[in-house]
Amino acid sequence: MGIETRGETVYRGIAWSAFACSANTAAVDVKDGKIIRIRPLHYDEVSTEEQRKPWRIEARGKVFEPGKKTLLPPLSLTYKKRIYSPNRVLFPMKRVDWDPNGERNPQNRGLSKYERISWDEATTLIASEIKRIHDTYGPLAIMCQADGHGETKVVHAPHGAQAMMLELCGGYTLQARQPDSWEGWYWGAKHMWGMDPVGMQVNQRNLYKDVCEHGDAVLYWGCDLETTPWGWGGQQPSRMAYFLEELGLKSFFVSPDLNYTGACHRGKWIPVLPNTDAALQLAIAYVWITEGTYYKEYVESHTVGFDWFEYYVLGNEDGVPKTPKWAEEKCGVPSYTIKAFARYWAKHAVSIAHADGGGMIRSPFSHEPARLEIVLLAMQGLGRPGTGQLHMIEFGQFGFDEWNPMPRSEKYFEVPGAYHGWMETIGRQNFFPKTMTPQALTLPEGEKLRWYGHVVCTAPRADQFVPFEFPADGAPMIHMVVSDSPSWTTCWNGGYSMQEALRNERVETIVMQHPWFENDTAFADIILPVNTMFEEKDVAVDNWSGQFNMMYIQDDCIEPLGESKSDYECAIEVAKKLERYGGPYENLVQRYTQGKTVDEWIEAGFESAQADSLMTYDEFAEKKMCLAPTADGWEDDPVALRAWYDDPASQPLSTPTRKIEIYSTGLAEHFPDDTERPIVPHWIEETEEHKERISSDRAVNYPFLMVTNHPRWRVHSEHDDVTWMREIRTCKVEGPDGYLYEPVWMNPVDAGKLGLEDGDVVRVYNERGSVLGGMYVNERIMPGAVYQDHGARVDPIVTGKCGLDRGGANNLICPTATTSKNAAGEATNGFLVNVEKVDVFSLAEEYPEQFGREYDPSDGLRVSAWLVDGQ
């Protein structure tokens, strides 16, 4: 009784790095304008094994191979639900009480509702506002928020399309985005070992093979390779970890929570209180120094300034030896475990694995644990067989193939010729760090905001010594915001301050464009409906799977929903209206589009990829798929830092001394008096800006340290409306009112003390405000710590400072200050909170309007809740 089950298959990357690079290549079966299924791509569908030349890693009698299909995360498999979400913005909207010719009511942003308007009205309004702002204050009075993680698109780039257009008619001020998942490496480790631009061990060549062959253990230090690679890399890191186990390597999981890696891989969990890793690291060094179990000769030949570090560790500087007992009090790891762990490490070939994120690298002073990790690796002879800092995500990022621990591909595809997205910050003068946006928007007239560096993830080490200020001399304050990434409050530091800043009277107009009504969109004056990647034809590259690299044409699968258009098309529509004003806007559409069709842009992308040795454009246009084989001779590539280990002069680092600078000479020269990021890494107890320790006075009122990992079932704040995720045990907790709350993990010991039980709705709070959550009492979180993934969708009850959020978007209560005074990174993890049970029914009585918003537990809040008469 067979039936026809197939459709037309479209190969499509379903990922959310946003930039023109990703993985998660899926086969999408489409029939009669409907998406039937999203499934892994089987490489045999598009190539032969001879073409692919699959690599084989052979170690200890076992074999690891790339696999025969792409390794999609559930985020990709469920994407149908995101495309057809009842929360899609399907037509242009305007805030009802925003009148550009009268009262603008900025104080009502986040409160008032919206009405449907036509595309013509919306774009006419936006163009006239741009023109007015340009004429009144100058182009730099417009801030572009054009960054972050969104759907990965190229021609239709999700972030920066509007900025590129504004660049052609006078420019704008850019909100410059930091490396939000590797702040500590960026602001700290780079000063110790260079490794530009990331600050992690960027030479990874054949490191995985080396660890397979020679390693004894891997420390997954805050690393959750079962979560963070999902958004744009898939699940190969999971297979890699399983293979290491199969080879007999021991795994350690060092984090306050038994994260999703520790949950499924077998090993030793060392629970450490949030953002106290530096204390643990110092105590390990203390054991090695006092027991003489580190590579003394290596430290002498490969590093600079170890004596300063030793002096500090032994307590000669401050009278406090950094003993395991000293550390135990701070980090919660028993001193006997610290000693045993240190001794194990000293006897074995140990690597440390990361996959972006991990609490310590996103916390206050994150440059300290980052630098201390490099010290520890150096003390154990970093680069000797089986040791390294193993990067289990984003293989070959930035297009340099040594930034990939897996066998090298013949080609790393890049398609800049087709890309309309986010622009480099480097070289730009008119910008401010994303971590300081609330301060920039509310800066008193006549004052300046000051920081160091362009802060963007590709900037080199020395860029951090360059001082900047906002506004630049003669430049205006910000009077208009144009955003294609309305999720600041769910991803950055001090979200309630941002909500407040968006209501600032000086910000006359806020335009946002986004596919869904979520998070910061409720603060917009005008909203443009953006379509999803499935609704447009585009080109894509897949370099990060750890399997095979590919470049392909992705046809549109369905018609755009409602009146939605791509970000690129939105910019064109606004440009059309701007053209009417002539002058700097003359011929804007032609200048912006270069008169090219989407197909022509794809061709330009192909040309820029320089893949002629693999196929011609005509072949590409016909086959739509270009797969690169494994590079011949990859096995012979020299292993990562092996030459450095053998002779540091043969493979010098990019630091001024060409060695590992435990005494960071760059910091000594430029910031000699900085006690928050001192020349030699230290334990920083607290500062004026960050009192986020259990020793701090604030801990009397807020005794728990908060873990806010990158979320398991979302990419930052995306996917929170996917019905099939929300019914997973660890995704949401149903409250007594039927609302699905963001889980708050608490150890039974703490829950017992507070009288809390599974399913209770609690308020997680500090003096910055409160967010609600649903209790999940369990043993995956250590006592003293509270866990809630970041990025839950904002559901505002009270907005602004001391606000209350029902959704559980805990970035709202993060510190507002940056990593430290000279490091403008985000500090969004490891901060103090308290937790108490709330009665949702009395809250609902107190806030009937907010609790009465249209809501369906299966998908959450809906856009109709924000429309007058619920259109």
């Binding site: 039936i3 089950t5 999609l72 999703y260 028993p334 475990t337 000693k339």
Partner: protein, 275 residues
């Protein structure tokens, strides 16, 4: 005849199987094989999870489960006109045949059958028979699995694994066609510590005896971190002895009948020096 083989050691808990099933079967009907699966609340394939032990000795067990496509299927007995077994072993509830959904739900000892009240029918996993009959190699849940934890194929090709596998609720006697490898049993874990010396105790001998018959079920030494993990234990009562030269023997009883046991800090004391 087809079988499913789940290796729980390889399951990373990603839930791909659960959501891929929904991607295939929600909002799309595959008649005559299946009507649409409700969007939420019912699971033709579901991953359960449990957290076992205490900080810092904690394990998370994931258990994917679906219809067992039993050879001795109670649902076929309950509604022979509506439920049938195919030649490849897959059990199908015919969505068009009249049946009492409540009775079918009640007939399944595995809770694998759901009552779709909107359509007034009982539903469950079809093994993606509509795909198999159209030439696809595997059901969606298996195709979406990244780690090889879920596999599907001919019984004879899995003979070696089936021989060491187990089924869920064997006492139900339904002859399931879904097999599990490495299904965890109970564990005892502890870190053995010499608290006076502030050191873990490495290389201590840990002996575990079953109380009912004194049988020694495990004999292992603590590792370099002072840890001992005794796994794959039946839910029973046990007596543990920890011994190391120079230390007083430590005896402790454990009741695993309800749950796993963890001792974050098990203290061993030195033999007092002679006075």
């Amino acid at each position: 005849m087809k079988v499913f083989v789940f290796d729980l050691d390889a399951c990373n808990g990603c839930h791909n199987c659960q959501v891929a099933c929904k991607d295939e079967h929600c909002a799309t009907n595959w008649l005559p094989y299946a009507e649409e699966q409700p969007d939420t609340g019912q699971f033709w394939c579901k991953v359960d999870e449990e957290v076992c032990g205490r900080v810092p000795h904690v394990r998370v067990n994931y258990l994917p489960h679906l219809c067992n496509h039993c050879d001795n299927a109670p649902c076929i007995v309950a509604a022979p006109e509506a439920v049938y077994k195919r030649e490849d072993g897959i059990v199908i509830i015919d969505p068009r045949a009249a049946h009492d959904p409540e009775a079918l739900v009640a007939s399944c000892p595995y809770g694998a059958i759901f009552w779709n009240k909107e359509l007034g029918i009982a539903q469950k996993c079809t093994g993606c028979a509509h795909l198999l009959d159209d030439g696809w190699a595997e059901p969606r849940c298996v195709d979406s699995c990244c780690t090889g934890a879920l596999r599907f194929g001919n019984e004879e090709d899995f003979a070696e694994e089936i021989a060491r596998a187990e089924v869920l609720i064997p006492e139900a006697g339904t002859a399931p066609r879904v097999y599990y490898l490495n299904k965890p049993k109970r564990f005892i874990a502890a870190t053995i510590v010499d608290i006076e010396a502030d050191e873990v105790v490495e290389d201590a001998m840990v002996t575990l005896q079953r109380i009912i018959d004194d049988e020694v079920v495990a004999e292992v030494r603590t590792d370099e971190l002072g840890d001992v993990w005794l796994e794959n234990l039946e839910p029973d009562r046990y007596r543990m002895r920890v011994s190391k030269e120079g230390y007083l023997d430590l005896h402790q009883e454990f009741d695993l009948s309800e749950k796993d046991r963890s001792v974050p800090e098990m203290r061993l004391y030195r033999v007092p020096a002679a006075v």
